[in-house]
């Protein structure tokens, strides 16, 4: 431990330690002492064990997250499958948009076609874009036409 002890023989230290312990052995009821001591530190040791298990709980969290990810992944895969199927019938969807756009702006188109004669171009734009954008473009195209 330190340079002052280097000169001491192991035998001397062992005898000294033995003598100290032997003298102390008869001065207290050591079994009762250890029972009391173990009871006194039981809650602290339990907290240490609990802290250890809390510290390892990230495993539990990860496992639970993994378990939840499986059904979510299946649901996402199913959704993608359905969407990809719908992508295959894309022309019919676009036709629906065209119909909607046409029906929304039918009054305006009728008015503009009567004034400018550009109804054919307007119909093509409306077929490619959603209805609100088509309405906006309709305004500008009408302005340019004027």
């Amino acid at each position: 431990m330190n340079e002052e002890r280097e000169e001491l023989s192991g035998e001397y230290v062992a005898e000294l330690r033995g003598a100290i312990e032997a003298a102390a052995a008869g001065e207290a009821d050591w079994e009762s002492f250890h029972v009391r001591l173990n009871a006194a530190v039981a809650s602290t040791l339990a907290e240490l064990r609990e802290g250890l298990s809390t510290g390892a709980a990230w495993w539990d969290h990860a496992a639970r997250a993994g378990m939840a990810a499986v059904p979510l992944g299946l649901a996402a895969a199913l959704l993608l499958f359905v969407l990809s199927r719908n992508t295959g019938s894309y022309p019919s969807t676009r036709a629906g948009i065209t119909v909607a756009a046409s029906s929304t702006d039918s009054a305006r188109e009728a008015f503009e076609s009567a004034l400018t004669g550009q109804s054919a171009r307007r119909t093509v734009i409306a077929a490619l874009l959603p209805a609100p954008a088509a309405a906006f473009l309709g305004d500008s195209s009408g302005g340019r036409a004027r």
Partner: protein
């Protein structure tokens, strides 16, 4: 279940995980030596027991932050010493219990070789020689030679000059070596 020959570091690592058996082993390993320190300070067995119990509780409370690569013994004995000195100060009886005394004359040198054939008897003689030392010397020789404190550390803890510690330690070692002299003669 810990083994008797398990090192302090292994037991401490188990205690850090909340192992009750490891704590019990560690406590049994150090309780009597801790009691000896506390009892020499306080001169009262019941108070010394309380100090040792408080020291173990404090050690367990701090065990989480204890670096298990360092030796447990000196760390724990510092806690015992601090608790003992605090108890001593709170009783305001330091002058009564830690008075300076002259080295008691002893008959350790007169122990006959024939009476030391049994090792248990050797230990008993050695213990008797230890008892002949004044309390302050008993405390200093235990802290220095068993627990591994330096003279400067002991001086700092007990609030006495380092030179005084070295002198008292020298006196105590001379007495105890005298008690072991017959054993050395037997071995040679």
């Amino acid at each position: 279940m810990p083994q008797a020959d398990e090192s302090d570091a292994e037991l401490v690592a188990r205690v850090q995980r909340g192992d009750r058996d490891a704590f019990d082993w560690l406590a049994r390993r150090y309780a009597k030596r801790a009691f000896a320190v506390a009892n020499r300070l306080l001169q009262n067995g019941a108070d010394a027991e309380d100090v040792v119990q408080d020291a173990f509780i404090a050690a367990v409370n701090a065990i989480d932050s204890f670096d298990s690569s360092r030796p447990f013994g000196p760390w724990f004995m510092r806690i015992v010493l601090n608790k003992g000195l605090t108890a001593l100060r709170s009783r305001a009886a330091e002058s009564k219990h830690l008075r300076s005394s002259e080295l008691v004359e002893n008959d350790a040198h007169a122990i006959s070789t024939e009476s030391l054939r049994d090792r248990a008897e050797i230990r008993e003689r050695f213990r008797d020689a230890m008892q002949l030392l004044p309390q302050r010397q008993q405390l200093i020789v235990q802290l220095a030679d068993v627990e591994g404190f330096t003279s400067a550390e002991i001086a700092g803890q007990l609030g006495i000059p380092s030179g005084t510690v070295r002198w008292l330690l020298h006196q105590a070692r001379e007495t105890l070596r005298g008690a072991l002299a017959p054993l050395r003669r037997m071995d040679s």
